[in-house]
Subunit: 90 residues, 7 copies
Amino acid sequence: MTIKPLQDRVVVKMAEAEETTQSGIILTGSAKEKPEFAEVIEVGPGTSDVKMEVKKGDKVLISKYSGTNVKLDGEEYIIVRMEDILAIVK
Amino acid sequence: MTIKPLQDRVVVKMAEAEETTQSGIILTGSAKEKPEFAEVIEVGPGTSDVKMEVKKGDKVLISKYSGTNVKLDGEEYIIVRMEDILAIVK
Amino acid sequence: MTIKPLQDRVVVKMAEAEETTQSGIILTGSAKEKPEFAEVIEVGPGTSDVKMEVKKGDKVLISKYSGTNVKLDGEEYIIVRMEDILAIVK
Amino acid sequence: MTIKPLQDRVVVKMAEAEETTQSGIILTGSAKEKPEFAEVIEVGPGTSDVKMEVKKGDKVLISKYSGTNVKLDGEEYIIVRMEDILAIVK
Amino acid sequence: MTIKPLQDRVVVKMAEAEETTQSGIILTGSAKEKPEFAEVIEVGPGTSDVKMEVKKGDKVLISKYSGTNVKLDGEEYIIVRMEDILAIVK
Amino acid sequence: MTIKPLQDRVVVKMAEAEETTQSGIILTGSAKEKPEFAEVIEVGPGTSDVKMEVKKGDKVLISKYSGTNVKLDGEEYIIVRMEDILAIVK
Amino acid sequence: MTIKPLQDRVVVKMAEAEETTQSGIILTGSAKEKPEFAEVIEVGPGTSDVKMEVKKGDKVLISKYSGTNVKLDGEEYIIVRMEDILAIVK
């Protein structure tokens, strides 16, 4: 069973806290909006205004509190918009 | 008797809770906006800005609290905009 | 005496409650915005942004609380925008 | 002395209550926004976005509370935008 | 010393109350937004969106409370946008 | 050391009060938004939407409270947008 | 490990207070929004609306309180939008 996101949406899976530490990304404790570390699972087709700049498997930083949670076959995912993805981390 | 949605609107029918469980979609209990599982009944023509990316029979996730309820020949439907449909689930 | 709506406006006449029941449309009692059943009387020319998708005589669902009431030759009409018409019911 | 409205503006003169009754237009007493009956006096050139759909002498319905009052040579007029004119009444 | 307004701005000089009366323009005392009578002093170049429809010497009606006051060589002027000029009075 | 403003930004230096008086510009004490007198120091490249209409050395009127203060090599400057510059004074 | 910013985003590293003083930039204490001094680390591809006007290594002034903090391999960075960068300082 799969999810195919529409328009400029992207399905991501949040990275585990442990995984985050191993990869060297540690989110700072400042008052500013903190991003979250995630992996791209599925990418929508984009729109005439928004070009998709991520692909399956990319590790990304997404804006906290963005998107919609959904549980599929026991796994939790978040559906975000391209706009909510700040950067790809390699 | 049929409903023909206009512009970028889509008529959907909410999936039963049982059906939702069978298909493996379980909505999480987090504080974030939760989507709802539905089936596409009729699709509008789209607009110059919005391309329709769903077709009759698609199983979709829609934003909760979106759209307008209507009862037609004893069945309840919701008229949503393309914008409110997050993803197709297969 | 006639009304010729301008831009993307449409003149509609609300359907009687009896007529609504006969046609099988029953609006649900949920907390969501409920549509109303109406008949299209006159259609404006549209604009460069909005294409008119209804014609005289169409039975339509319109967003509740949309439009402007006017009484013409003893009959009550509502002037709505194309945007306010959700669907054509056949 | 004349007023030449600019952009998509239109100068109208409110119709007398008597005249309104004769023409058969009676505005309803509902809670919705009520239009007013007026005659078009002068029409602006329009803009790249807005096409003028009325001409001098047209009897029109305008949104209540729209526009700006001005008294010219002892006569009162209202300067409205094309947007504020709902329909032409013939 | 001169002021050259930028973009779609226009420099106007408010007309004296006496002059206003002579020209036959008397602003009404209604609750609606009242315009003010002014003379165009300098006209900006316009923008890709806004075409300038007034020229030096035009007598115009401007929206009250619009624009920015400035005193130049002892004279008071108002810098308004093309948008704030309702009509030319001849 | 120099500042190169980006997009449609302009670096200006506020004129001294004395200089303002000499040039004949005196800002009025009305309740309306008062502009400030400044000299253009550096001009950004503009954007596809905004054409730059000022050049180095121009004396300009800017909207009060617009822009961002910065001190460079002991001098205070304000970085404003083209939008915030009302007029060139010659 | 690297961060590749998306759309019109830019990864910057805040300059040390000491470095700021050496470069001659001192932010003023006024009530207006104060910028911050930073170095550009990575630049996104831009969008159809926004052209990127900075490159790696540029010293820039960014709007205070803009962007999102992230710590990568022990270093703190801020991800801002092109819009948030006021000027390049040379």
